[in-house]
Symmetry: C2
Subunit: 362 residues, 2 copies
């Protein structure tokens, strides 16, 4: 068994053992764990992340309202244990199909919908204090990375600096990745793959001694963990490069402060040291980019107001100033508007200047 699989296996076994003990003692088998509902999601001003409060919930076998969920939780625990035993990983969808069976002499399925197996897995993350990745269940695979880093993964030694124009394709699960050598001063994370290709072609990571990461869409858990590990284990600052729009701000917000969905995993899924590198309202003014503004639609204004009201942004003057300027502009601005200044403007002037002057939002 792999070293890193020992903890989840032990946790799953002691979870099972606890229920066996309940049965042997003639007690009602009961699972207890933190309540995962909006009423128990709290913003921790010390760690500056969204996490779960102190409310607990119980799930008992001999309880008509709990019995099915109890069974589902055990079924997912069984599937996870089997995966760990054979050293295989499964996707959320796989797990759903593996759990979906009709109970003998009944017309009741263990799960009818993936939402049920997903929820049980989230419960299991709380029960075992292991992420779904540690339980060998993977989320989505997305994204690419390049930089002066050598890793070992699945028996291969991989140099992120020697992977041509494509880069390394980030797996859904990076728990087993071993860093062998990390030569970089910081990490830039960007959602847009086109910006990543721009920086990669310009050898930005080589010239600036950094690592560039793109998600090609929403930030997957694999990418979140990769960024967090680089930050934790190598103390690398994480800079977020996104559009100047409410959605860009939201990407940053979730990455740094967490989200309601991830509240039960805030310890391993948030990046408390992340900083917002751009694009900002000041960039629009300093680099004469107002002519590339894209007018707000109603939905943008609504979204902006929601984000400006987030607890962690409310008392932050710098962010409130950005929100106010955006509201006054009534417009957003894309990173790619920088291309109007020349194709390599972003990698030769914009980013080096901002990073040198440490012009970040926190």
């Amino acid at each position: 068994m792999k070293k890193q699989d020992k903890k989840p296996v032990k946790e799953l076994e002691s979870f099972g053992q606890k229920l066996v003990t309940d049965i042997e003692k003639g007690k009602n088998p009961t699972i207890e764990f933190s309540l995962r509902s909006l009423s128990n999601v709290v913003y921790d001003t010390k760690t500056k992340t969204l996490g779960l409060g102190e409310k607990q919930q119980q799930r008992a076998f001999f309880n008509v309202g709990h019995a099915k969920k109890f069974l589902q939780t055990l079924e997912i625990a069984k599937i996870s244990k089997n995966l760990l035993d054979v050293g295989k990983h499964a996707s959320l969808r796989d797990v759903f199909y593996m759990a979906k069976r009709t109970l003998p002499s009944s017309n009741i399925n263990i799960v009818d919908d993936q939402v049920e197996s997903d929820k049980s897995l989230e419960d299991l993350e709380l029960i075992t204090d292991c992420s779904r990745e540690q339980l060998n269940i993977n989320a989505n695979k997305m994204g690419s990375v390049a930089g002066n880093v050598v890793i070992e993964d699945s028996g291969d030694s991989i140099n992120w600096a020697k992977l041509g124009s494509g880069g390394w394709s980030i797996p859904s699960n990076v728990e087993d990745v071993e860093f062998k050598s990390v030569k970089a001063k910081y990490v830039i994370y960007m959602e847009k793959q086109a910006v990543w290709e721009r920086l990669h072609e310009d050898k930005f990571w080589e010239k600036q001694n950094c690592i560039i990461v793109t998600s090609q869409g929403q930030t997957t858990r694999g990418i979140r963990r990769l960024l967090q590990r680089l930050n934790d284990e190598y103390d690398l600052p994480i800079y977020v490069l996104a559009d100047f729009d409410p959605w860009g701000f939201y990407i940053y917000s979730v990455l740094k402060f967490g989200s309601i969905n991830l509240a039960h995993m805030s310890g391993t899924m948030t990046l408390q040291n992340a900083r917002f590198l751009g694009v900002t309202a000041d960039d629009a003014l300093n680099y004469d980019l107002k002519k590339h503004f894209i007018k707000f639609k109603d939905v943008d204004m609504t979204r902006l107001k929601q984000i400006a009201d987030y607890e962690w942004f409310q008392k932050n003057k710098d962010w409130q100033r950005q929100f106010k300027l955006m509201k006054d502009f009534g417009a957003k601005l894309e990173i790619q508007a920088l291309s109007s200044k020349g194709i390599t403007f972003i990698s030769e002037k914009y980013l080096p200047e901002k990073i040198k002057k440490q012009e970040f939002l926190d």
Copy 2:
């Protein structure tokens, strides 16, 4: 200048030279190329692809209705020529911002919307007989690949067999990729990244001596070209693995026969030898998967009817049989339903059996 850039540069220069000659002769500068409209999209029963017919269109400078588009086409040609000259690539969005300027002493922008620069670029593909990738303008980057293949790209030698759990991240543009060694009997292309991770973890490509490719979403042009090059240059069959649903069939249809949007590029963007590996109606019956059927919604039935009516499927008895069975089931089936048979069922039994028996749809 790179060897492969010579053709596009020559084509762009002769395009410009033609217009200069028009001017010197006192003629109205005029561009002529195939008409790109639905009325000129035809299904070629010989090549079995959707392509453009013989209708031509003209675009003249001294024509109030043409002048702006004429200017836009020249602007995009200029941007492409500049990119080729400095050996850089840009995304479609970059090109839009590079073209977006206000004409002096006017309030007219060269382009106001990306649709305009995109359309001009498609025209330029026809005018120069070069793909946008050859013109150094990239579409989206997506997807991963693994297999016994060594390539050279941007000065790096990359072994697709030695990239851990992630694989090589496929760039948006694979025109400059050089194949150094290709040891494989076939290629499996799948949309779903989770299925790719399944096959990769099970070392399917190693055991079966093949290449596995996933797009993690829609099939990008980069992936299309990668598959086409592996098929053209190494005679590798391409097998498509998709869900048993109208959308899965559509993915296959576009890959093999082309689409209206790609009609002007059918030569380099279609895979006439692609075959559909699964999931089929027969799989649902043979492997006892009917219990995992997902009931059709109205939109599924509508989509199925549209696809069944495609000219290239109309006279294909095997496909019509699939469409009929799907209609009778009134349901679709996901690849991942195979996981209900065990996590490695797909890689140890389903795929090896189907490929051995050559159970494909054409």
